[in-house]
């Protein structure tokens, strides 16, 4: 504890550098632009600016990169809420209630809540990073392959909740996602499956590319084909938002749980912020007294998913900084940035470079404050942006999607994959098949398959031993318990409605 306080004292002197503060503001503006434009992701934003930081001191460089990470994760909510396209994969769950709120004319409120929730989630998880990094890193180490697998199963149970109203369509979508997750190399044997010889698919369907297509293209086609529906959606105005932001405190419990979910999902390497958003959303829905209002514009849905995905930021940096193992793609790029500045992530980092690391962590508190006014300012004009006619907005969004899909891996094949997924998404939208279960299936399928195969390999094919260890390792038991509760709650709400299970 004393060493942490010393670290804070050391780190805060770093923050007095006016250049650092200026860079946080610049990083925030840049991150908000990158994040709110569909197709451009946090990973890309951080990667783009790593070379720019070469000439800076480590704290300046890291403050810039950290600010981009925090603000872009938040800003993806703006386009999710206003145009039903998640700005980054982290915001997939935000559009579930965010866009319906816009349709109800509450877009301004949705953005205010998303902003406040993101800031609070980010702030809380940064506290976790600051004070709880060593114990949380210990927890991360306890997650073995079987825990990852069970966690993926837990995530799959969320599909049922997302499919309420039409189980058959939801499950179809989820199963399709799980199937698409099989594409590519088998994680243990290296056998290549369903790739049609396209090397871009060897590592699996590129998730971000798929998401850009799945959301951008159907939305644009739908907007262009419907006659001037955007007259109705123009009711959204971002005014008096500072007052509206206070409404977020109606959802204290939702935010608390979402922060815990985000932190834990964040420290689990490879799980990613989209999963955290979905799990928190599901959790808020199940705890709510009116679960049926979710998906129709319930503010709690926006608050839950935005708190959770920003809480992932601090969580994902815990294994990155303490173990040298990145929690997700963005923190992998950040890790590279750290190393270029001569820092060696790993157990010795806090002791050897405490000044820099504490400076970096403290700078992210500032970033979480700065993106509030900047984000609201941008949203003001974002709302005007959606008033532009579909004939102009549509091509713009498609153009951004193409650029985004290309820029991720500098690959034209990825653009074709994006368009193909867009076609699939359009068909799904036409038939009212929800796309979110598919996203979950895609993300979790890869994880579930790989981790199950690895767990099997670790017990050398002894299935009874695998089951035995699942029920004897405490962490496994906890996850199994949570999954059981989630499935039970889902079934109960089905029976209450006395509807057929598969309608």
């Amino acid at each position: 504890m004393e060493s942490i306080l010393n670290g804070i004292a050391l780190g805060s002197t770093q923050l007095l550098d006016p250049m650092v503060l200026l860079l946080i503001v610049l990083g925030t503006v840049f991150g908000i632009i990158i994040g709110s434009l569909p197709g451009l992701t946090s990973t890309m934003g951080v990667a783009l600016l790593v070379p720019v930081t070469f000439g800076m001191t480590p704290v300046q460089g890291l403050a810039l990169l950290g600010a981009i990470y925090c603000s872009s994760t938040y800003a993806g909510a703006i386009s999710a809420i206003l145009i039903n396209i998640p700005g980054t994969p982290a915001n997939c769950s935000t559009l579930l209630d965010g866009f319906p709120m816009t349709k109800l004319g509450q877009g301004g409120l949705a953005i205010a809540l998303a902003t406040a929730a993101s800031a609070i989630g980010g702030f809380m998880s940064n506290f976790g990073l600051l004070f709880l990094a060593p114990p949380l890193a210990e927890l991360a180490l306890r997650f073995g392959s079987q825990e990852y697998f069970l966690l993926a199963l837990f995530g799959v149970s969320v599909i049922a909740s997302l499919s309420e109203g039409n189980m058959l369509k939801g499950f179809t979508s989820g199963t399709l996602g799980l199937f698409l997750a099989i594409v590519g190399m088998h994680p243990m044997t290296g056998d290549i499956r369903f790739t049609f010889g396209i090397p871009e698919l060897f590592n699996g369907l590129p998730l971000v590319v798929a998401l850009i297509g799945l959301y951008s293209i159907p939305e644009v086609i739908a907007n262009l084909s419907e006659k001037s529906t955007n007259e109705e959606t123009t009711a959204a105005e971002v005014k008096g938002v500072f007052g509206q932001m206070m409404e977020v405190f109606k959802y204290k419990m939702v935010m608390f749980k979402a922060t815990v979910i985000g932190l834990i999902v964040g420290i689990v390497p490879g799980a990613g912020s989209s999963i955290a958003g979905f799990i928190a959303y599901d959790n808020a829905k199940k705890a709510s007294k009116q679960p049926e209002s979710f998906g129709k514009g319930n503010p709690a849905g926006v608050v839950a998913s935005e708190t959770a995905n920003n809480a992932v930021v601090g969580g994902s940096l815990i294994p990155t900084l303490t173990l040298g193992i990145p929690g997700n793609a963005v923190s992998a790029v950040l890790l590279g940035g750290l190393m270029i500045h001569g820092l060696k992530p790993g157990p010795g980092l806090f002791a050897e470079n405490g000044e820099i690391i504490y400076g970096f962590i403290l700078s992210m508190f500032v970033a979480n404050l700065v993106f509030v006014p900047v984000g609201l300012f941008v949203s003001r004009y974002g709302v005007k942006f959606i008033k532009t006619p579909a004939s102009i907005l549509g091509p713009l969004v498609i153009g951004l999607g193409v650029v985004g899909a290309y820029a991720l891996n500098m690959s034209l094949v990825d653009v074709w994959i994006m368009i193909a997924m867009g076609m699939l998404g359009f068909v799904m939208k036409q038939f009212d098949v929800p796309r979110e279960p598919m996203v979950l299936g895609l993300v979790l399928g890869t994880m579930a398959e790989g981790e199950l195969a690895r767990s099997m390999s670790l017990v050398q094919g002894d299935v009874p031993a695998l089951f035995a260890s699942m029920f004897t390792r405490p962490l496994s038991l906890i996850i199994i318990g949570l999954t059981a509760i989630s499935v039970f709650q889902g079934l109960r709400s089905q029976f209450r409605k006395k509807g057929p299970f598969l309608d």
């Binding site: 990973t43 990667a47 790593v50 070379p51 070469f54 991360a140 180490l141 306890r142 997650f143 073995g144 392959s145 190399m185 088998h186 994680p187 243990m188 044997t189 290296g190 010889g197 090397p199 871009e200 060897f202 590592n203 390497p269 490879g270 294994p319 173990l323 040298g324 193992i325 990145p326 793609a329 992998a332 790029v333 950040l334 890790l335 590279g336 190393m339 270029i340 001569g342 060696k344 992530p345 790993g346 157990p347 010795g348 980092l349 891996n409 500098m410 690959s411 790989g450 690895r454 390999s457 670790l458 050398q460």
Partner: protein, 325 residues
């Protein structure tokens, strides 16, 4: 060991010569007159990416132009290397190479649309040998103890490592074959996750690249048992090399050797200019100091040596590739 002290001696030489050399080379040829793009066939944050970004940070001084890193990840490097092979042969597109990974790809997937002789190898800069590593309090005090335990086919020991079809796996399987071990290689998606699994007690031993385990070794959490390279490594002088310890030839086939290449057909003077500039860069004090801090083992090999190493690696991998299937 010898190479390193030679490198050290070369630093002082280079410091003397570099300023003059840059000017004279510039006078001979105008190349390069615009920024050079370096394709990294892996995602940002990985070993190749970090090496190239470090090079790019220092490149301006020696090339007279900026070196722009462009990540083209996918299919274990295949996509980036294919792109490099097909890029314009004017010297303005170079790419990161990694042995034996590019050789393994070609051996495992013969249909891969690049050939090893589609490239002109400029130089190699970094070597990163594979090690066997255990937790500090492991029951295996030495590599010999592990080998003794792992020779019992009734009680197969799990070993974690980057995989499948990686240089690490190839190295481990080559060693297991030479020593008659019966181990179960469990593939993880990178050396990082394998280290995590080791720290978390999921496995008792891991095979990783030296660079990915070194922070935890220095922190006293992990212990290296043996290094698969011909010479002991400077950062871990007490860790024996495999061939010396076991008294038989174990090829260091999995040692990652990272360097740079251009597509075939780049004019000789451009290749020579690049080779010279990277030679000076890898001898420069500032670069060496930062590389050392990051745990990057610098070992410069010139164009001829790099070319020869590719051929040698192809031969070694070809002899062992059935182990990976």
């Amino acid at each position: 060991m010898g190479t390193y002290s030679k490198t050290a001696a070369a630093i002082t030489m280079a410091a003397f010569l570099s300023a003059g050399a840059v000017n004279s080379v510039n006078a001979q040829t105008a190349f390069p007159t615009k920024p050079i793009v370096a394709i990294v066939p892996f995602s940002p944050g990985g070993g190749n990416d970090i090496l190239l970004r470090l090079i790019s940070k220092h490149a301006n001084e020696f090339l007279g132009q900026t070196l722009v890193v462009e990540n083209k990840p996918g299919a274990g490097g295949q996509i980036g290397w294919t792109a490099l092979a097909k890029s314009k042969a004017d010297g303005y597109t170079i790419g990161a190479t990694s042995l034996p990974s590019m050789v393994i790809i070609k051996a495992m997937r013969p249909a891969t649309p690049f050939a090893l002789d589609d490239f002109r190898y400029i130089c190699n800069i970094q070597v990163d040998p594979v090690i066997w590593v255990v937790k500090a309090d492991s029951r295996f005090k030495t590599a010999k103890e592990f080998v003794a335990q792992a020779s019992n086919p009734q009680k197969v020991i799990n070993i974690a490592g980057d995989g499948p079809q990686s240089n690490v796996q190839l190295q481990h399987l080559a060693a297991a074959k030479a020593l008659g071990l019966s181990t179960n290689f469990v593939s993880f998606s990178g050396s990082g996750p394998a280290v995590t699994a080791l720290l978390g007690g999921q496995v008792e031993i891991a095979a990783t690249t030296l660079s990915s385990a070194i922070p935890n070794i220095e922190a006293g959490k992990l212990r290296a048992l043996v290094v698969f390279s011909s010479d002991p490594v400077l950062s871990l002088p007490d860790v024996p090399t495999a061939s010396k310890l076991f008294g038989k030839a174990i090829p260091s086939v999995g040692m990652a050797v990272r360097g740079l290449a251009v597509p075939k057909g780049v004019p000789d003077d451009a290749v020579a200019k690049l080779e010279g500039a990277f030679k000076q860069l890898s001898d420069s004090k500032a670069f060496l100091a930062e590389a050392k801090n990051l745990g990057i083992m610098v070992k410069f090999m010139n164009a001829a040596e790099a070319e020869a190493l590719v051929k040698e690696s192809a031969k070694e991998v070809d002899a062992l590739k059935d182990l990976l299937k």
